[in-house]
């Protein structure tokens, strides 16, 4: 037919900027400024307190970076808290016999192996990850209680404690160094590599991703193994910071981790993920907790206010989006 009647088909040229996608940053800035003003006299802004926030959120942040990948593939990992507990113990035990390196290998290895089991059950046996990791959370917690009969295992190795606990690089606490390191790696992997793309595609529409030749099972497996391994890493940080392994470490952490991830803007239904958002989600929660404690609220008041802030933070942002 006559080529002149063929017009171009146009849609909006550029994706519009939507501040609602940045709600976690806005909420963080809002909360931070509020506390800086109201709690100035209480030392909220002191270097030490700011470092406290960073230190206190390090474990959640690091687990949350890996869980961002898991959730981006539309799966979930509820076992991270238990893994952290068990890894703190295996690391502490290994340190006694094999020193620092042994401790590190044991901590990470424990996490990676459990993550691998999770991953295989999800991708090969096709059990929903919610059930796999819920079951695993219970099993691993049981193992953590069992291996030392609930007794804590002290850590006396200074190198380990320096690296994963109280050490600092110049003025920067090691815990912060680790957080930044993991966050940067996570961000780059998710945004700049094929694997990141494959992760988002798998979560966005698994069958379409498979049609495109993506090995979605492999993607999920890797995400779950990483998440196990990062939980193991967090376990080492708990251990380093409190100079002991203990089965209660990380208790309930899975909910904080998922909250940080979702608050950051990753979709629980997969396909959309952001590591930077996750880190801010985690720090937002940590800052709220810190500020409210400094304010001198008792536990019940802290809970009421922090729950409210979380809901409000998102309420302001979500008007447009459905999920």
């Amino acid at each position: 037919m006559q080529s002149k009647i063929i017009n171009t088909t146009t849609a909006t040229k550029r994706p519009a900027f939507d501040w609602r996608n940045y709600i976690v940053y806005i909420a963080f800035i809002g909360v931070f400024i509020t506390f800086s003003i109201t709690l100035y006299d209480y030392g909220f802004l002191s270097t030490n307190n700011l470092l406290n926030i960073v230190r206190q959120t390090a474990m959640i942040s690091i687990m949350a970076v890996a869980v961002t990948f898991v959730i981006s593939t539309a799966e979930i990992d509820l076992s991270v808290g238990s893994i952290a507990a068990l890894s703190s113990l295996t690391a502490a035990l290994a340190i006694q016999s094999f020193g620092t390196v042994g401790g590190i290998l044991a901590g990470l290895g424990t996490g990676a192996i459990i993550g691998l089991i999770n991953g295989l059950l999800v991708t090969k046996v096709l059990i929903p990850s919610f059930l796999v990791t819920l079951g695993m959370m219970i099993i691993v917690k049981g193992i953590a209680m069992w291996i030392t009969g609930t007794a804590p295992v002290p850590i006396l190795n200074d190198a380990f404690i320096f690296l994963f606990g109280s050490g600092s690089l110049g003025p920067i606490p090691m815990l912060f160094v680790w957080t930044i390191l993991i966050a940067v790696i996570g961000h780059i992997v998710l945004r700049k590599t094929t694997f990141g793309r494959q992760t988002l595609a798998t979560g966005g529409n698994e069958s379409a991703a498979r049609f495109s030749g993506i090995n979605t099972a492999r993607v999920k497996l890797i995400a779950l193994v990483s998440s196990g391994m990062m939980a193991g890493f967090a376990g080492m940080l708990y251990a380093g910071r409190l100079e002991a392994g203990r089965f209660t470490f990380g208790e309930g952490a899975e909910l904080s981790v998922i909250a940080a991830v979702i608050l950051g803007g990753t979709s629980l239904f997969g396909g959309v993920g952001t590591v930077v958002g996750t880190i801010f989600g985690s720090i937002l929660i940590g800052t709220i907790n810190n500020g409210l404690i400094i304010m001198g609220l008792d536990v019940s008041q802290q809970m009421m206010v922090s729950g409210l802030i979380i809901i409000l933070a998102v309420a302001f942002g979500r008007k447009a989006k459905k999920r």
Binding site: T9, P15, A208, F211
Partner: protein, 498 residues
């Protein structure tokens, strides 16, 4: 070197004991466009999915470039140079156009990281070839289905495959984009690419294909050069018996007194910008327009999906406030939506469940569903619309595309609306059923309903409409009585000009 790019021989496949492909043979020459034809559920998509590794054949042989190969997963197909434009999209809504086009074949910089710039530039080029002017950074989920389709096409093209399968690529495209695509196909052909083309639009087949293979009920019927077949012969092969086409328009008579639906200066979002239209009782109004002209948005505004920002809707001369679909349904309006998979069906649910969703109140008494009524009704519609399914309990995602479309139609026919809006109602429906559907639409109008048909297939629009309006930028640009339109070109000009 032979000139055969692909040979599939004696391919069989069954699902849950039901034979879907029965010793099918198919052969593709290098540089040819080979049309694969057949009724809904004949097995076309299944055959192609076997070729691309989505499904595995039960028996048979696949030879590509003289080498017998095993295709077990999509990667295997890709490695053998096979790419496919899927009937149900394989784009990821939460990713951008660019990310989708380069999915799993991302360009990388020397340091191993993604080369976003290069991908952006190449995407722009591809889109330009396709005459599509959208930003490579748009999220798919923010685009209308037409653009999904264009992205899907661009994605397949970018693979530089030697065998390209197009499963109903034009189903959501209007004439404009279709022409662009055909030009592209010519170019690809001349570069030696072999193309398998699936469509239910007969005129396209004759325009674009070199040879045709027909399947019927999972069995091979014939392979023949296109030039050796007439339209009638082809239809006969597809449906299994000779059949007169209902594509000829027959004047219908209805009184132009009772206006059943009217809109005045209707605005909605940025796509509907002051639409005045009216439909008489017993009339079939066609709406034509380019992709993005706002047809779908107009229909969605009337039906209460998109908020009406200003203007009014009248039903039987009474102003009605429509804020959500329930309001529209209460006013007797029904909408058969454009995108059957996203808007039309709960894909994981059964046929009968989907059919009753709009009529839950009619099949229930004080909130309790009458199971018998449901079964009867669904059986009745499965029969009436010739829906090919093992049973009314089959999950709709296991039906062929055309049969899914028929269920969306059935849903709204079952509701017995007074005003029926059909947005691309025959999208993916086979030639036999298409005439049946046109027949059904006419019957409904004869019964005194007002019908609006939105279609990008002009032949169909001309066959069914009593009057046609054209839309551009969300405004009515012309109104033509059917008698004024002498040919498709007339309508084409009405759409393009203004």
């Amino acid at each position: 070197m032979t000139k055969i790019a692909l040979r599939m021989s004696e391919i069989s496949k069954s699902f849950n004991g039901i034979n879907v492909l029965d010793h099918v043979n198919f052969e593709l020459e290098k540089g040819e466009v080979h049309a694969l034809m057949g009724g809904n559920g004949a097995g076309k998509s299944t055959l192609m999915k076997i070729l691309t590794g989505v499904y595995q054949k039960d028996s048979g042989k696949i030879v590509i470039n003289d080498k017998e190969i095993d295709i077990e997963k999509p990667q295997d197909a890709q490695e053998n140079g096979v790419a496919m434009i899927f009937q149900e999209f394989s784009v990821i809504p939460s990713l951008t156009v660019k990310q989708n086009i380069f999915l799993n074949r991302e360009l990388k910089k020397s340091n191993g990281f993604l080369d976003e710039k290069a991908m952006y530039v190449q995407t722009e080029d591809l889109l330009k070839q396709l005459n599509v002017n959208i930003s490579p950074d748009m999220l798919i989920e923010n685009l209308s289905v037409g653009f999904w389709q264009m992205t899907e096409i661009a994605k397949a093209l970018a693979q530089k495959a030697s065998i390209l399968i197009m499963d109903e690529p034009t189903a959501t495209l209007s004439k404009n984009e279709t022409e662009t695509l055909f030009k592209l196909i010519e170019t690809l052909k001349s570069e030696g690419m072999s193309i398998i083309y699936i469509s239910h639009r007969m005129d396209e087949i004759f325009q674009v294909s070199d040879r045709i293979t027909v399947l019927r009920d999972g069995k091979f019927v014939i392979t023949s050069p296109t030039a050796h077949l007439t339209m009638e012969e082809l239809v006969q092969h597809i449906v299994g018996k000779s059949m007169e086409s209902s594509f000829g328009w027959k004047p219908r008579s209805y009184s132009k007194e009772e206006v059943m639906l009217e809109t005045k200066d209707l605005h909605s979002g940025s796509k509907v910008n002051g639409v005045d239209l009216h439909v008489y009782k017993g009339e079939i109004l066609g709406i034509a327009g380019l992709m993005g002209s706002g047809r779908t948005e107009l229909a969605q505004a009337i039906f209460g999906i998109d908020p009406i920002t200003s203007g009014e809707v009248f039903v039987d001369c009474q102003a009605v406030r429509i804020k959500q679909p329930q309001d529209a349904i209460r006013a007797g309006i029904a909408l058969v939506p454009e995108d059957r998979r996203v808007q039309g069906l709960v894909l994981t649910h059964e046929v009968k469940e989907n059919i009753i969703y709009p009529i839950l109140n009619k099949v229930s008494k004080s909130g309790f569903i009458n199971k018998k009524k449901v079964d009867q009704l669904s059986e009745q519609f499965v029969e009436k619309l010739n829906i090919k399914t093992d049973s009314i309990y089959k999950s709709t995602n296991l039906l062929s595309g055309g049969n899914q479309q028929k269920i969306v139609l059935a849903k709204w026919l079952a509701n017995e609306p007074n005003i029926l809006i059909l947005d691309e109602p025959t999208n993916g429906v086979d030639i036999g059923s298409k005439s049946e559907i046109i027949e059904i639409i006419r019957e409904l109008a004869d019964q005194g309903k007002a019908v609006i048909v939105i279609s990008s297939e002009l032949a169909e629009l001309l066959a069914v409409s009593d009057r046609i309006i054209t839309l551009k930028n969300g405004k009515v640009t012309s109104e033509l009585s059917r008698e004024e339109i002498k040919s498709e070109e007339d309508l084409e000009h009405a759409i393009q000009n203004h």
